[in-house]
């Protein structure tokens, strides 16, 4: 049952560390712990790491670090991950205006799941979600896992434009569109929080590994 971690090359300038092969909170926590371990050891030649659900991609400079060197380094770090206690993740609250013009798919989700709209909102806001990873557009958080009761498939045909701030769900994931972009997820609400400010000293509201709680915005 134990997944054996693997280190696989993605080309000659990055390595994919596999710590699992499914969406799982414990595995994801180890991914973030490994990313943090690498960050604090700041070894020369590692450019940056990209955490995802169950993997960590390590970008490196092959003129500074050879394949053997970085593989050995990562093998060692992987063993250390099991030993360290996980850091307490940052928790953020996200106020949401649910439904209506802000969440045009909320009714669909309710009907699809055989629930009232109020139940969908209650279930969505009850849980604390982990940001497994970020991608798709700058600042877009992939969060989970949704309670089974409100799991809803994504759209067959994506919308050409979803406004920034829109809170959405797809499958067992929930996310927030960080910039105006096309989008295939079900739109259930909108937050006035700004997820991405390129000119700011802290451009991103979220970091991978953070925890998020949605709350109904007080009018």
């Amino acid at each position: 049952m134990q997944f054996k971690p693997r280190i696989l090359p993605l080309g000659d300038s990055s390595l994919l560390v596999e710590l699992g092969d499914e969406i799982d909170m414990a595995v994801n926590q180890r991914v973030h712990a490994l990313a943090h371990l690498i960050e604090v050891s700041s070894i020369n030649g590692i450019i940056e790491t990209v955490p995802a659900y169950a993997t960590l991609l390590v970008h490196y400079d092959p003129l500074v670090l050879s394949y053997i060197q970085i593989k050995n380094y990562l093998r060692e770090k992987i063993t250390q991950v099991e030993e360290i206690s996980s850091r307490k993740p940052r928790q953020l609250e996200v106020p949401v205006r649910y439904g209506g013009e802000y969440g045009p798919d909320l009714e669909f989700v309710a009907t699809h799941c055989g629930l009232r709209v109020e139940d969908v909102i209650r279930i969505h806001t009850e849980q604390i979600y982990t940001i497994f990873m970020m991608g798709f557009t700058p600042g877009f958080p992939y969060m989970g896992k949704l309670d089974n009761a409100i799991i809803t498939p994504r759209l067959q045909t994506p919308r050409t434009r979803v406004p920034a701030g829109t809170v959405a769900i797809a499958g067992s994931q929930t996310g927030i569109y960080s910039i105006d972009s096309p989008g295939g997820w079900r739109l259930i609400g909108w937050t006035p929080l700004r997820l991405f400010s390129p000119e700011s000293e802290t451009p991103f509201l979220f970091s991978p590994g953070d925890e998020v709680k949605f709350i109904v915005e007080r009018p």
């Binding site: 696989l8 090359p9 993605l10 080309g11 000659d12 300038s13 990055s14 994919l16 596999e18 092969d21 499914e22 969406i23 990313a35 450019i47 940056e48 790491t49 990209v50 955490p51 995802a52 659900y53 169950a54 993997t55 960590l56 991609l57 970008h59 092959p62 003129l63 050879s66 394949y67 990873m133 970020m134 991608g135 798709f136 557009t137 700058p138 600042g139 877009f140 992939y142 960080s178 910039i179 390129p198 000119e199 451009p203 991103f204 970091s207 991978p208």
Partner: protein
Amino acid sequence: MKMTIEVLEVNGLATIQDSGRTSWRRFGVPASGPMDVFAFQAANVLLGNPGGCAAVEIGLGDVSLQAAQDCVIAVTGVGYQLSIYIWEFPLWGSFFVRAGWKIRLNKTDHGMWAYLAVPGGVRTPSILGSQSTYLRGAFGGLEGRQLQAGDRITAASHFSYELAGQTLPAENRPKYQENPILGVIMGPQWDYFTKESIETFLSSEYSISLTSDRMGYRLEGPPLTQRGNKELISEGMTFGAIQVPSNGLPIVSMADGPSTGGYPKIGAVASADLPLLAQCVPNQSRIRFRETTVTKAQEKYRAVFEGLQKIVPDE
């Protein structure tokens, strides 16, 4: 005195790029940067610039510019004819341009991208630590957009006449060609594909679709079949990674490719060969893939990029 060049006309895609935006890929921000990393770096080295200074990347069409003051520029790339004032010059050199002279880059058939460097790099604001343009996100470079007539490109440094007249001889550049064979490091999901498909991938010719862009080169040729129905959860991506979506046609992730992706990756192009791929022409070039190892690929990378040290005065 500030060295400024005015953009007169752009018939393709011109953007400001530096060596790329690193440290933010975990937040979903692609690295961007040049499509042909070698040609970009060579343009800077020809002017004695520190590596990675912001330069103008020109693609897909003609560009004409005009020097507002005396200046020195370097131009590299494949698939362009360079004329300054009334003379034609081969690329991969540094040139003195007098105030008022026009600089023209005319697109020819056999290549895609050219780089124009200025002393000290192009002066634009740094966003998230880089001057590279991320067109989708509309930030970086010059106001987050492509260059257009009327834009002014300002150099960060003063120039000196000695910078002109340098060249990088052809034998020290990558072996650009119309139908290159590209080294590929197999994996991480090559075992998702049937044995026949792997053989097909490593023996067939592919062409590049016209729908390709700075995000990815979409390939046309024999589709690849997966063994089973295994779903891949999203993972990090890199420049040169070869994804295969459900239609079986490979897509090579390029400079503006997303930082993560959920399609299986059959392999990734060796960094030494990425400049060759970048300069391939849609609907014209025919590429082939050949399996290589990480160690061999890294050796080739070192060897190819050592060519940047071989700048000489132009006779």
